[in-house]
Subunit: 245 residues, 2 copies
DNA sequence: CGCTTCGTTGAACTGGGTCAACGCGTGTGG
DNA sequence: CCACACGCGTTGACCCAGTTCAACGAAGCG
């Protein structure tokens, strides 16, 4: 069996916050177990009470809510390194579900251990808190995406965001990177129907921006997508602009 | 001149978190100045760098982003007691603007003072952090609202949310409560055009759920609205369900 | 090899957008 | 104190992006 650590979590937090060696070691020494999910498996469901915190180590997961008429809406996507439910530090009842978008590996950390760490290391507390700000910032951008952009631009914007976040998580993207999402998944993230998503995908293929084979999408021209989507990455707050010193 | 305190902030934090007397006093002793805004005045603009934290004491403000084609999207609304930009604790560059929806009074607190307080009182830090979680939770519900509900239900849902949040801020609502928003404001919050908003408002009037006079809306039948919107207030996390003890 | 899942395509439909005209308060300047 | 202008709600006619429904096909899996 492979040797698994929480290094990816440290790397992710380091992108935006300063984490000194002591804090890094504390994080790496957190107790955790591993959980493997297959596509569509639930990590947790709306209404459940859980006392663990999940960190995504590989694969993708997504957060979803269900509208009154049964319509599913994906409200966030997690990439490797992301903490899935940092809310668990303060809330233990969930009003949404998290499900695997692909096969995924997840570190399961007792929330109490993380809480102790946060309380003893301000640096870690602020780093985790900053992550919460970014979650909100991304959600606001999604509201803008769904509320004010047409289907083509919405899709391009989503692809730009995911590509960039995956790169920042330390994976090479480029022509070889593939995103495995069904038309229904994409539609549920963009507020569209799967039928229309396939039409829009074909449009973006026709102009050479992406390539779709089976249920995976490859980015052929990220700059073209960025231009089309008028993508401004400020909302991802990727630089360490922490101004506490 | 009236005597103004940050009591409303304490009350707001108390709704969800435990704030002991010492922490309460520290909060009330925070230095602050007052700022008065008229409808449409900007509190801050996208791209600005600011080192103060704003707390809304009376009136309403909203957070907005602008899409590439110039379309405005309102991504959040603040009610009295809300901290407008708690992000300032860690981020000092904004990717969105905040504007007054009505005449508003705002407490302006040096971020550094708030930061010192948060670092010396875990209780306050967690209370502020919890507020961030709720901001994200509300944003996710808005994504679902805009992505998966039709115009009538979207509007009903927004009205339910605002009514409840204003009540929780300690104001009486009921038949006399009025919300002053133009059709354009509402449209920008719901991802609709002002023309369609007036049509939907008329629909809700026809069935006796609301009353519109000039540019204000009164709620006539909050239960009817809740039923129509299938409103589930869990996402507002109004109870003190903080499970750290 | 048959079943399931999902992409693909076409045709018809509709919720909401667009455009344009009008009307009613309100505020403002002469 | 009146007249005009401006902001915004209202209404109607028309339009279109995206939905709906349905049929078909291809890959993957047991």
């Amino acid at each position: 069996m492979e040797y698994v650590t929480l290094q990816r979590l440290v790397t992710k937090l380091r992108r935006r916050s300063t984490i000194d060696l002591a804090s890094e070691n504390s994080l790496l020494n957190l107790p955790f177990t591993l959980k493997k999910l297959s596509r569509s498996d639930y990590l947790f469901r709306s209404g459940e009470t859980i006392s663990v915190t999940y960190v995504l180590l590989s694969g993708f997961t997504f957060r979803q809510k269900v509208a009154g008429d049964g319509g599913r809406q994906i409200v966030a996507i997690q990439v490797p390194g992301d903490i899935v439910n940092i809310q668990s530090l303060q809330l233990n009842m969930y009003d949404h579900s998290v499900q695997a978008l692909s096969d995924a590996t997840i570190a399961v950390i007792p929330t109490s251990a993380l809480l102790v760490l946060a309380q003893s290391h301000d640096e870690i507390m602020f780093a985790l808190w900053l992550d919460t700000f970014v979650d909100a910032s991304i959600a606001w951008e999604w509201i803008t995406n769904i509320g004010r952009r047409n289907a083509r631009i919405r899709l391009a914007h989503l692809l730009c965001e995911i590509t960039l976040r995956v790169e920042m998580a330390g994976f090479h993207t480029g022509a070889t990177h593939k995103l495995a999402m069904t038309s229904e998944d994409i539609g549920d993230a963009l507020g569209l129907t799967p039928v229309h998503v396939t039409r829009v995908i074909k449009e973006l293929m026709r102009v050479g921006l992406i390539l779709r084979e089976r249920r995976s999408i490859s980015i052929l021209d990220i700059n073209g997508l960025r231009t089309l989507a008028d993508f401004n990455q400020a909302y991802l707050h990727l630089q360490n602009i922490n101004h506490r010193i």
